[in-house]
Amino acid sequence: MSATLLYAITGSGLFVLGLYALARHAHLLRKIIAVNVMGSGVFLVFGALAYRTPGLVSDAVPHAMVITGIVVAVSATAVALVLMLRVQSETGRPHLPEQPSD
């Protein structure tokens, strides 16, 4: 198994792990962390796939994209955290209400 493939599989694993946590946990902070784990998984896959042709210098484009992606993820996390705090101050608990009967 090449290192690239190992990283890619690990990245996908993180994505799935995050997805599970997002669905499983009720606390909003855990959900936000779960989304971040998923994001990290995706970035890892990107980074791994940058090294496409063995022996050559790795591709710079995915690196640029991962950096952009991290900026996006940080901003999104900040918004999510503020929103979580507002939810807590407004409803008294950092949880989403039960789904409306649907």
Binding site: L22, V42, F46, L49, V61, P62, T68, G69, V87
Partner: protein, 497 residues
């Protein structure tokens, strides 16, 4: 060519004018409404110039800063982009007008509204003009963040929890999409849609990437059964925001799905399209059924959006061989007509809510003159949602019906026509209230802050409704615009799918 500015890069201005406006509105909060109006004028102007270019000169292309792919950011505009930009500009201009009256005092909410709305507009225009999978991810995320913040503006617990749920699902959707993008890059080493379209094959990696991207975008488009985040968020937002979300934002991710489907995905197995179509049919029935049993007006309108989104997905199984061009044209027309009609409905519902002080359907009613125009707007918008002629909604459904007969799959007429009847059921459940005698139902809440509606709010809602109705007569012109350098044009001739 005597037209002034015919050579200017209007693609760039369509993205940057609202962006500059957003920054200005944030920096000068006291003048936010004025900035919003000026930015709207400038953006609408840029977009119309761009549409003129696309219609007269053909597809437009601009490499920002002269960099070009892969590191630079390229902007493309073809007929499909132009149709989406047009939809956004029409709805955007009306919502700006409405919002100047809706947010009367320069509260904090109002200030943030202008900055966020202009940011959202900029992000949407950028999304329609991008031809690169990663830029599309960034714009998609920007659209998501701006929309979530706009929902949260209402500030009450419904809005905040609605926004939070919306945000988490939106992030899930974009990350799923991004994972698909990563797989495609790994396989082919480029993210330019044009270049990729020659490289993708029905190989397992490409199939996995396709599946992930479609799933991610379906979450963001609220396709049943991933729709549950939409009704609470759209219903809890302030009226102009609800209009923007239902009319435009859900269409952005669908636009992306449509473009990828047409230009990129290795669609060799029709079963995939059939699955999407079945989910669309399910959305039509489930969404309409839910709309019918809602007790609150804005939730009813929001579930109607869930149902109408289903129609967009019917094109995937219908777009076979010779029927493809017809099916896609119908879908784009549907996006446009639904945008206008749904904006009208949410703005009218906002007026009714403001007038009565609540939106419980059972207690609404009265044809009191103060609210008659808003009821009229709601009813006329309903004509387009039901899909009765001469509305653009009818033209769209007609094209979908033609596509289902032409592709030999007549059974799709069941959701197309059945959805119309269900839409009529939930529309007239509400519209009938307008005919209650004066002394029945609510007379308007004297304590509600805005019980007297401004003329601008009433007429904007009515304007959208009439626009959706009259747009049916402009069908040939819209279809002609779509033919400008769109993937549909070649479909008609060659029958690629």
């Amino acid at each position: 060519m005597e037209t002034p500015f015919a050579d200017s890069p209007w693609t760039v201005w369509a993205v940057f004018t609202p962006m500059i406006g957003a920054v200005a509105a944030f920096l000068w909060p006291r003048r936010a409404a004025l900035v919003g109006c000026l930015a709207t004028l400038a953006t609408v102007g840029s977009v119309f110039w761009l549409i003129w270019q696309v219609a007269q000169l053909g597809p437009q292309y601009h490499a920002m800063g002269g960099w070009g792919a892969p590191l630079g950011i390229d902007l493309h505009a073809d007929g499909l982009s132009a149709a989406m930009l047009l939809t956004t500009a029409l709805v955007g201009a009306g919502v700006t007008l409405y919002a100047t009256a809706y947010f009367q005092q320069a509260t904090e909410t109002a200030r943030f509204f202008w900055a966020l709305w202009l940011l959202l507009w900029s992000a949407m225009n950028a999304l329609f003009l991008s031809g690169d999978l990663f830029n599309l991810y960034v714009t998609l995320e920007l659209v998501g963040v701006a929309s979530v913040a706009l929902v949260a503006l209402a500030g009450n617990s419904d809005a905040l929890t609605g926004a939070m749920r919306y945000f988490l699902l939106s992030l899930l959707g974009s990350l799923t999409y991004l994972l698909g993008v990563a797989l495609l890059y790994g396989a082919h080493g480029t993210l330019d849609i044009g270049l990729l379209s020659d490289l993708v094959t029905p190989a397992p990696a490409d199939w996995a990437a396709t599946g992930l991207m479609v799933a991610g975008l379906s979450i963001k488009t609220a396709l049943v059964p991933l729709h549950f985040w939409l009704p609470p968020a759209h219903a809890a937002a302030p009226a102009p925001v609800s209009a923007l979300l239902s009319a435009l934002v859900v269409k952005t991710s669908f636009y992306l799905l449509l473009r990828l489907w047409l230009e990129l995905f290795p669609v060799t197995a029709p079963g995939f399209g059939q699955v999407l179509g079945l989910l669309g049919a399910l959305a039509i029935f489930w969404g309409s059924f839910q709309a019918l049993r809602q007790a609150r007006l804005k939730l009813l309108v929001a579930y109607s959006t869930v149902a109408q989104i289903g129609y967009l997905f019917l094109a995937f199984p219908l777009a076979l061989t010779t029927a493809a061009a017809t099916a896609w044209a119908g879908t784009v027309l549907f996006i446009l007509s639904h945008a206008l009609a749904k904006a009208a409905m949410f703005l009218a519902a906002g007026n009714i809510l403001k007038f009565a002080g609540h939106d419980r359907i059972a207690d609404l009613g009265s044809g009191s003159p103060g609210i008659a125009l808003s009821w009229a707007a709601f009813g006329i918008a309903g004509i387009s949602i039901i899909g009765l002629p001469p509305s653009a909604g009818f033209a769209a459904k007609w094209l979908l019906l033609q596509a289902s007969f032409a592709s030999g799959q007549w059974w799709w007429l069941i959701p197309i026509v059945g959805g119309s009847l269900l839409a009529a059921a939930y529309m007239f459940k509400v519209a009938g209230l307008a005919f209650l005698p004066n002394d029945q139902g609510d007379q308007g809440d004297p304590k509600a802050a805005g019980a007297r509606l401004s003329r601008r709010m009433k007429w904007t809602a009515l304007g959208f409704a009439l626009g959706a109705l009259a747009m049916g007569f402009a069908t040939p012109q819209i279809l002609a615009l779509l033919d400008s350098g769109t993937p549909f044009a070649q479909l008609g001739a060659v029958g690629v799918l």
